[in-house]
Amino acid sequence: MNIVVCVKQIPDPETPASQFAVDNAAKRVIPAQGIAPVVNPYDPQATEAALRLKDAAGEGKITVISLGEESARDAIKHALAMGADEGILLSDPDFENIDNFQTSLALARAIEKVGDVDLVLMGRASADWDMGVAPIGVAEQLGLPCVTIAKSMELEGDTLTVERVLDDGFQTVEVDTPAVVSISNEFGEPRYPQLRQIMLAAKKTVQVWSADDLELEDEDAGEDNRWLGLEALYIPEVESNVEIIEGDSPEDQARNLALKLREAKLI
C-alpha cells in the first residue's frame, strides 16, 4: 500500500495579531521576528491518518510531499519523525506565490511521478489561505474521487469507508481506492515524534524536485500565471468600538459590566 501525504509549511497561526505584518506592495505576509513557521495544523492529522492505516495493514509506504521553500523541509521532517518513510520537496522559483490551482497541478504531477499511489491524504485546508480547494484539485488532476473533511477512516481491501464532518452532522461514505481524502482536526490527536524517531528522521532522505522534474510547462507555474489573481493583501482596519468598563474596584467594574450586559439585553 502506497500512501502520499501532502503537507504545507505556513506562518504560525498562534502569532499574536500585534506581530502580524503584511508587505502591501509585494502582497505577502512579512514573517514575524522570532516566530518560526510551523506545519499547517491540519497536516499532522493527515500524517497520523496515514500511519494508522499503515499500522492496521501491517505494511505500506508513506511518502510525504511538500511544495514550498527550502524551509518546508522542516514540515517534511516533522512527518518523517512521526513515522513516514520518505520525503519529497517540490521547490522551484516558479512555485513562489502560486495559487491553489497551480499547486494542485504540481502536487498531482509529483504523485504521478511517485507512481502506484493507493491513497492521497491532505489536511482539510491550509490555515493561511483557508480555502480547502487543493484536495479536490489534486483529485481532479489525477482523475480520482475525493472525500473531504474526514474524522475517521477504515480500509478493507480496495474499499475505504470514511466518516465525514458536515456543518450539521456526520456522513459515512465509501469510495474505492485510489482516492484523495482530506483530514479534519476531529480525526484526533496526532502522535508526538519521539526523540529516537527524530534522530532516525534526520537520516531519511528528502528528494528535491523542480518544475522541470515534474515536466510542467512554463505556463503551468509562476506567479504571473495564477488563475486566481491576488490583487491586494492588507490588514483590515478593525474599527475598535470597545467600551472599557471603568469602576472604583474590580468588583465595581464587574457590577458595571453586568449592568451594561443587561442594558444591551445580552443577559
Binding site: 499574536p16 489561505w129 480547494v133 492588507y234
Partner: protein, 320 residues
C-alpha cells in the same frame, strides 16, 4: 447577456435561507453590470416561486437529492448544465458542506479558479473582484479570476436577503444531473443534541492561557452555566491540558457564533479568532489593554479575572 447563477440549497424540503442571501448578492451584481439572475435548485417545482420572489429571473430544476453534501459529483453535472444554459459568467454558492466540495469541483472542471468564503463582491469593468478573509482573519485578500467563469462561495449571513416580491415570476427549466458518482453515501446523521453544544450555544465563556491555572476553568463553567451557555477554551489552554480538546474554540477546534462571547485571559491570536470572530457581541476580560481581543470587543474589563469573574457572577445573580 452574461448572467449570474446561484446554487440554492434546501432544508427539509424548503428553500434554505442562505439561497436568498446568494440571490441578494447576485441581484446587486446584475444591477451594476447587467444580465440576469438564475438559480439552480434540486427538488420539485414548488421551490421555484420563493426563488423568484427573492430575486431570481429563471430557475433551473435538478432532480431531488442531487445538490446535497456527499453528492457533489452528481451535483456538479447539474451545475455545469445550468451554467451553460444560463450563459452564466458568475456562479455563487454558500460556504456550506455542499459548497465546499461543489465550488472547487466545478472550477476544476471548467478550468477556472474559485474563491472560497467571500465577504464582499464588486464588479470592475464587468469582471468580478472578491474580498475574502485569510490568515485567520488577520488579513484580507482581494482576488480576481483569469478564466471566463468566476466561481465563489459566500460567507453565510454576510448578505441580507431581499424583501420578497410576490409579483415576481419567471421560467422553470429542468436540467439533468448525470454525473458519475464515485463516492457512495452510506448514511447521513444529524449531530446529536445533548446539553448545550458549544457550536449551538447562544452564550460561550472561554478561558485561555492567561488564566494561569487549570482550576480557574470551574469559574468559567459557573459563569457559563449561570448564563445558560457553554464553556470553551483556547488551543493554548487545551495544549496545556487545562481543558478537554473537544471544547477547543479556534481554527483546529470548534467554530462558534454565539450572541455573547466572553473571552477571559485570551489574547486573540488568529488561531483562536478563526473560531469565534463571528460572535455577535464579544466581551474581553484581560489585564492587557492592547490585547487583540480587547480591540475587537464591545465591552472590556482591564483587570485581573480572579477578582472580576466572581464579582460578575454575584452581580448577575443580583440583577433580578
Amino acid at each position: 447577456m452574461p448572467g449570474t447563477l446561484i446554487i440554492a440549497e434546501t432544508v427539509e424540503g424548503a428553500v434554505a435561507p442562505l439561497s436568498f442571501e446568494l440571490l441578494a448578492a447576485a441581484r446587486s451584481l446584475v444591477d451594476q453590470g447587467g444580465g440576469s439572475v438564475s438559480a439552480l435548485v434540486a427538488g420539485d417545482e414548488s421551490l421555484a416561486q420563493p426563488l423568484f420572489e427573492h430575486g431570481a429571473d429563471a430557475v433551473y430544476l435538478a432532480p431531488a437529492g442531487s445538490l446535497v453534501s456527499g453528492y457533489a459529483e452528481t451535483g456538479v453535472a447539474a451545475a455545469l448544465a445550468a451554467c451553460e444554459a444560463a450563459g452564466a459568467e458568475v456562479v455563487l454558492m454558500g460556504q456550506t458542506s455542499l459548497g465546499r466540495d461543489l465550488a472547487p469541483l466545478m472550477a476544476f472542471r471548467l478550468n477556472t479558479a474559485v474563491a472560497m468564503d467571500c465577504l464582499s463582491l464588486e464588479l470592475q469593468e464587468g469582471r468580478l473582484r472578491a474580498t475574502r478573509s485569510c490568515y485567520g482573519g488577520n488579513a484580507n485578500a482581494e482576488v480576481t479570476w483569469r478564466g471566463e467563469t468566476q466561481i465563489a462561495t459566500l460567507k453565510l449571513k454576510a448578505w441580507d436577503a431581499l424583501e420578497p416580491d410576490t409579483s415576481r415570476n419567471g421560467s422553470v427549466v429542468p436540467v439533468e444531473a448525470a454525473g458519475e458518482q464515485r463516492v457512495r453515501v452510506i448514511s447521513t446523521e444529524a449531530a446529536e443534541a445533548t446539553g448545550v453544544r458549544l457550536e449551538d450555544a447562544e452564550v460561550v465563556v472561554s478561558g485561555g492561557r492567561g488564566l494561569g491555572d487549570p482550576s480557574a476553568f470551574s469559574m468559567m463553567e459557573e459563569l457559563s452555566e449561570l448564563l445558560g451557555g457553554a464553556t470553551g477554551a483556547s488551543r493554548a489552554a487545551c495544549d496545556l491540558g487545562w481543558y478537554p480538546p473537544s471544547q477547543q474554540v479556534g481554527l483546529t477546534g470548534k467554530t462558534v457564533t454565539p450572541n455573547l462571547y466572553i473571552a477571559v485571559g485570551i489574547s486573540g491570536a488568529s488561531q483562536h479568532m478563526a473560531g469565534m470572530s463571528g460572535s455577535k457581541n464579544i466581551i474581553a476580560i484581560n489585564r492587557d489593554p492592547d490585547a487583540n481581543m480587547v480591540q475587537v470587543a464591545r465591552f472590556a474589563v482591564i483587570e485581573d479575572y480572579k477578582k472580576v469573574v466572581p464579582a460578575l457572577i454575584d452581580a448577575i445573580k443580583g440583577l433580578d
